[in-house]
């Protein structure tokens, strides 16, 4: 499949994630959108990795050219998991303080 389809899809997912972060009020939904952005970049990495491999196969049967992309994806997933745990801990603390998870109540930096 031409690489453009993957790029368009990743772009769409990423922008949906961004808009979600900017617009939603529920902290957990914001988290899900952050995950969505991370996954969009993962998708892009894997797609490019496959593209390079397919291109290199034409010249060399035994090539490992696109392996960095797929390796990097693992790192991103690990980071995402760690981030989720920390983030959820923060949300719990937030709930304990203001008994809600509406981010609009976090405005003590106002003025």
């Amino acid at each position: 499949m031409p690489i453009q389809y993957y790029i368009y899809l990743a772009l769409t997912l990423f922008s949906i994630g961004v808009v979600g972060v900017l617009t939603r009020r529920n902290a957990i939904i914001i988290f899900m959108c952050v995950e969505l952005m991370l996954n969009a970049s993962n998708l892009l990495l894997v797609a490019f990795s496959k593209m390079h491999y397919t291109n290199a196969l034409a010249t060399n049967k035994e090539t490992l050219i696109g392996i960095e992309g797929q390796l990097y994806v693992f790192f991103i997933m690990v980071v995402a998991a760690a981030e989720v745990s920390v983030g959820l801990a923060i949300i719990v603390m937030m709930y304990r303080n203001i008994h809600s998870i509406d981010i609009n109540f976090l405005n003590r930096l106002k003025n």
């Binding site: 961004v18 972060v21 900017l22 617009t23 981010i103 609009n104 405005n107 106002k110 003025n111």
Partner: protein, 639 residues
């Protein structure tokens, strides 16, 4: 002897520093001793220098380079030649007498002010010495400015009185106007000749075109107009009588006002080759002489009469310069220093005895109470009137004889001026010393002769006023007896032989006799008219009122210059300063304040808006990063 030249101005400078810095800690007697001995030491050195110059000629020493830029080198040096040494004697001699006089006259002051007074007086003598001793125009200008400054400081000595401060400001500002002319002349000389030293300028004056010469000489004369109180810059001198009387004697009779004459005599080479300027000087001189004499006729304050008399006599000196009688003018400077200082000091003695009453209508009959002051004042009046054989006769007659050579009208106007001088001086004498005392009984009880420190200088000056003319006996009386002319010949350059060579005019004896007779007649007339004066004056009318109000010149200057400058200054203050500059500066502050208040709302505490701004700016950065080249092309096309 050359090594000691620098000591002459050094003593007064040290006296200034000692009295100025120590005015709180020294006692009055110590202050006066420091002040007087510094001038005495300078006087002794001046006598030594004078005899040295008389025997062996001029001395010229340079100490260091005052200004040294590329081709222009202005050394700081002293030139003691015949003219300088003569002036040195006058300045330090009369300065010393006045210091001694002041030590008693100013005794009522507090010690701090006493010390300040002597410090200023010493600073004045220092500046005046710099002026006459410098060997180039720039050093003269330093002294010139210095004496202007000291004049301001001393006129406004009693600074708690606001009108005295105005008088001091007026003197300084009018001096400054003249100084502008002087500075322009110096710049012109530097531009044309590349040097300002006297030797350099006078040796190379041929390189100046006649246009250059006339401009330079006129600009120098403008400087002299301001310093020596000629029309139109003379109005500061009568107001300067606000200062203490010894100050008036020293500064405004004997020394500072003669600085202009010194400068012109020093530059006699330039002036002798600029005949149009010389005519101008002569006209201004005689006009000032007559104008000031007319104002002095009806003044009622002792010091004002003497002030206008000074302006008038200065006019005579400039008349002498204008007709080329340089020796005559220097001679008149000398004799005028003697008798005018004597007149002022005598007036001070009278004022002191009358407890600071200066109106002559309230005096009278002081002859009985103050004999020494009376005699010396009378001798000075004879000297200033020009009665032979007093000193004033010889000097004034020399000027008038030279004026007659140039143009008889100068002579006739000069004689009229001399008669007016006689009239107002003897009116002053008669109203002060003759007749009955017209003051209060209170004042009468306190009248007594002044102490020795006041009367001794009076006696010395009287001696000089009577016999000082004998150094300049004219040709008609004795062949080649004019000692002063022979002495000053080296500084008056060879081309001016016709000015210094003695003229023997056949009619001169007759003219002298006629003039003297007229003067004696006026003396007798005035004596009799005013010796029985009763104060029955009504409000003056007509010409007398105009003369009493000084021809309304001060009012004229006020309307012409002071009001317009005040208006310009006020408009600058209100429009440009308050609304303009202050508006801009305050406006920037207000604008920042306003902007920050608006920008504050960015921080509203909503995390969402923060993230939105972050995302937007990231998009912008990436956009710019990708399209770097096209953006630069766009900017280059616009600019």
């Amino acid at each position: 002897m050359n090594n000691l030249v620098f000591l002459v101005p050094l003593f007064p400078l040290l006296g200034f520093l000692a009295n100025g810095l120590g005015r709180k800690s020294l006692s009055k007697s110590l202050i006066s001793i420091i002040g007087c001995t510094s001038i005495l030491c300078s006087f002794i050195l001046s006598v030594l220098l004078f005899s040295s110059v008389k025997s062996s000629g001029a001395i010229n020493v340079s100490y260091f380079n005052f200004i040294n830029v590329s081709s222009l080198c202005i050394p700081f040096g002293f030139q003691i030649d015949q003219l300088s040494s003569l002036f040195l004697l006058i300045i330090t001699g009369i300065g010393f007498l006045i210091h001694v006089y002041s030590s008693v006259y100013m005794n009522d002051e507090k010690t701090i002010h006493y010390g300040r007074y002597f410090a200023y007086l010493n600073l004045f003598v220092f500046s005046m010495l710099l002026l006459v001793m410098g060997n180039n125009y720039v050093i003269m200008f330093i002294g010139w400015e210095g004496v202007g400054l000291c004049s301001y400081l001393l006129i406004g000595f009693w600074f708690k009185n606001n009108s005295y401060n105005y008088a001091a400001k007026k003197a300084f500002i009018m001096n400054r106007i003249g100084d502008l002319g002087f500075l322009l002349a110096i710049f012109w000389i530097i531009n044309r000749l590349g040097t300002v030293s006297y030797e350099g300028v006078f040796a190379n004056f041929n390189k100046l075109s006649s246009y250059d010469l006339s401009i330079i000489t006129i600009l120098l004369f403008v400087g002299a107009m301001g310093k020596s109180a000629q029309i139109p810059l003379y109005t500061w001198l009568p107001d300067a009588m606000a200062g203490p009387t010894p100050v008036s004697a020293l500064i405004h009779a004997a020394t500072m006002v003669t600085a202009g004459i010194y400068m012109i005599v020093r530059s006699n080479v330039l002036y002798s080759h600029a005949p149009s300027t010389q005519n101008f000087i002569a006209i201004i001189g005689i006009a000032t002489a007559l104008f000031a004499a007319s104002i002095a006729l009806f003044q009622n304050d002792i010091k004002k009469v003497l002030a206008y008399s000074t302006v008038s006599q200065l006019g005579y000196m400039f008349l002498g310069l204008g007709v080329g009688a340089y020796t005559g003018s220097v001679f008149h400077v000398m004799t005028h220093a003697f008798f005018k200082a004597l007149l002022f000091l005598g007036a001070g003695s009278v004022i002191h005895a009358m407890h600071h009453e200066q109106d002559i209508r309230k005096m009278g009959g002081l002859r009985k109470y103050m004999p020494i002051t009376n005699i010396t004042f009378l001798l000075a009046c004879f000297a200033i009137a020009g009665v032979p054989p007093f000193s004033g006769f010889f000097s004034k007659d020399e000027i008038l004889a030279a004026a007659f050579e140039k143009n008889p009208i100068y002579y006739y106007l000069g004689v009229i001026g001399a008669l007016m001088t006689t009239f107002y001086m003897f009116r002053l004498y008669a109203l002060t010393f003759l007749g009955k005392f017209r003051g209060t009984h209170e004042q009468e009880h306190h009248l007594h002769e002044s102490p020795f420190a006041i009367t001794i200088p009076l006696i010395v000056l009287a001696f000089l006023s009577v016999f000082g003319g004998l150094i300049g006996i004219p040709e008609v009386f004795a062949k080649n007896a004019h000692w002063l002319a022979n002495f000053l010949k080296p500084i008056l350059h060879a081309n001016e032989i016709e000015a210094t060579e003695p003229h023997v005019n056949n009619n001169e004896l007759i003219m002298m006799a006629v003039a003297t007779t007229l003067i004696l007649t006026v003396i007798v007339f005035t004596w009799n008219k005013f010796k029985r004066y009763e104060n029955t004056e009504t409000e003056p009318t007509g010409l007398k009122k105009i003369l009493l109000n000084k021809w309304y010149v001060d009012e004229l200057y006020d309307i012409l210059f002071v009001r317009s400058i005040d208006f310009i200054a006020a408009s600058f203050k209100n429009i440009i300063e308050k609304s303009g500059i202050d508006g801009i500066v305050n406006g920037i502050g207000t604008m920042i304040n306003y902007t920050s208040r608006q920008v504050r709302f960015v921080q509203d505490g909503h995390v969402g808006s923060y993230i939105l701004m972050m995302v937007v700016s990231m998009i912008a950065i990436i956009f710019i990063w990708i399209n770097d080249g096209t953006i630069i092309q766009l900017i280059n096309k616009i600019f």
